[in-house]
Symmetry: C2
Subunit: 328 residues, 2 copies
């Protein structure tokens, strides 16, 4: 529909100027769109950095205590959110390049359109010029007619009357020429103005289609990121659910546990007999500090010089001879 | 399952200390969770403010040009996003209060648990004490036995032999008492340690359930906001789609249009006759500058002193007399 071809006529023929000025707003809105997207990209980048910082906070969560493994869930989730927003930042930065590229194309199209509009601008000015002459010419004719009428009423002599009539005819002729000029300028203006209006509309249409495509790309990027973020949230919820209280207790017990063996009761007979056998063995071994195998005393006491922290003797010195430092 | 009742025995009975220290990590993780949520709330608040600023950028978009109405779509969307994130900030701030409230409850529960653990701590220390005496007592008995054996081999006199035997018996008796003390301390320790381990596990279980409930609330708030943001994005996309290029062109034409009437061609006869009638009328009206109704000249020319910009005479001065300033 030719909206511009219909709505930009009217008094004083300002329509052309309105359309011309409006065209100049095209690159303004393109620049503003780039600025808007740039600001959004900055916001997303800031958010991404803040999320990365939050992830650090999660990884600094105390590694002790039963809750510790859940910090890892927070850390992973925050890291992924940071990544989602960083990816959006990058997509938006790419989009800004598209917008700026379009801005350059647009300026070229505008240059062409301005050149084509020069003829219409001339037609507008010509019409304005002849329109200004018209009332003067008309007033002159009117005055001549009234002079002639006055002379007729005052019954002035024929010579004066003839003179007045000649003047009236000349004024009529001048007015006729003005009207013709006006009509010619008007017809030229109408044609050129219609051409320009259609051209301006086509330009705006192309502009709007391009801008809407860019907006579509913007919306698409934002929406894609939103879907990804939704997955991260879902994963977070699932991970929290998956780490059951029982699992946390078991993990803690297994990693921080000190051993499953309770200190056994001592039997005096066995303990003292073992001491004797050990004494004999030690005597036989020339008191080299070696104890006989299989005579471990109080279970809570036997240690080995080569043990890892918390390891029981028999875990480490399998089949070897054991040195007793302290049975307690 | 009693994980704590099984995994915190082992050498030197350090298990109690590990569980006791681990309990103290509970309030640490509660505080860390509050810190984490506070940081997240701050991030959301910053994002919300940035979005409000972005909305301002959108409302400052040029109101001229065909693209202008789309800025309103951006403004509304940014405003709504700002609101979503602000709402999340508030929800998280409420959640922090819940976390801190739980932290206070937790400290009370810990105080009670510490009181109950005193007996176990004593039992651990008693067992450590008797375990230290045991090897000394055993070594003493062993030495006495070996002394006696040596005397026997050397066929020492009976008196010396009796003396050695008495010493051996005393050492055996002392060792027996040490073994009994150890066995008693061990039994007491086992019972108390098991009680404490179960109590510590129950405490951790309650802690973890509470923490997981708080995490659930966190995940729920974040997810709710995510759904709302999704609606805002959907609305944005829909609004952009709804504002068609044709609609933008029509809106622009209607709001910025200068008029639908083209300048009409002038007919010389009608124009000049109208001038005469007008002249007669003006003469009759004592040249008060009034023109007769219904004799408007060139359609492009008639203006009225009371007109609004761009309005045509007949739009404004309905039924009234018109003053012609300039027909051009």
């Amino acid at each position: 529909m030719s909206y511009f071809g219909e709505h930009f006529w009217g008094e004083k023929n300002h329509g052309f100027d309105v359309l011309y000025q409006s065209m100049k707003q095209g690159p303004v809105s393109t620049k503003e769109l780039a600025d808007f997207i740039r600001e959004r990209a900055t916001i997303e980048e800031t958010y991404s950095k803040a999320m990365a910082k939050l992830s650090k906070l999660a990884s600094n969560g105390t590694p002790m205590g039963t809750f510790a493994p859940l910090w890892e869930v927070f850390r992973v989730s925050s890291d992924k959110l940071a990544l989602c927003h960083l990816e959006l930042t990058r997509k938006l930065q790419d989009l800004i390049k598209d917008v700026l590229r379009y801005g350059e194309e647009q300026l070229k199209a505008h240059k062409k359109c301005k050149e084509e509009a020069v003829g219409t601008l001339d037609a507008v000015q010509v019409l304005a010029g002849v329109s200004q002459l018209l009332p003067k010419s008309r007033e002159n004719y009117l005055n001549r007619c009234m002079d002639q009428e006055r002379l007729r009423r005052e019954s002035t002599n024929q010579k004066e009357m003839d003179k007045a009539e000649t003047k009236t005819k000349k004024a009529a002729e001048s007015l006729r020429r003005s009207v013709e000029k006006y009509n010619s300028a008007r017809a030229d203006f109408e044609q050129k103005m219609l051409d320009s209006a259609l051209r301006f509309q086509a330009l705006e249409e192309t502009h709007l289609r391009h801008m809407k495509a860019l907006l579509g790309s913007y919306a698409h990027s934002v929406e894609n990121t939103h879907v990804q973020i939704g997955q991260v949230h879902e994963e977070f919820k699932q991970n929290i659910e998956n780490v059951s209280v029982e699992m946390l207790l078991r993990k803690f017990a297994e990693s921080k546990g000190t051993g499953r063996e309770k200190p056994g009761p001592l039997d005096f007979e066995a303990y003292s007999t073992a001491a004797l056998q050990e004494g004999n063995y030690e005597a036989a071994a020339g008191r080299q500090g070696l104890s006989p195998p299989g005579t471990e005393p109080a279970r809570a006491g036997a240690t080995c010089s080569c043990r890892r922290p918390g390891a029981r003797v028999r875990d480490v010195c399998r089949g070897g001879r054991r040195r007793f430092h302290c049975p307690a």
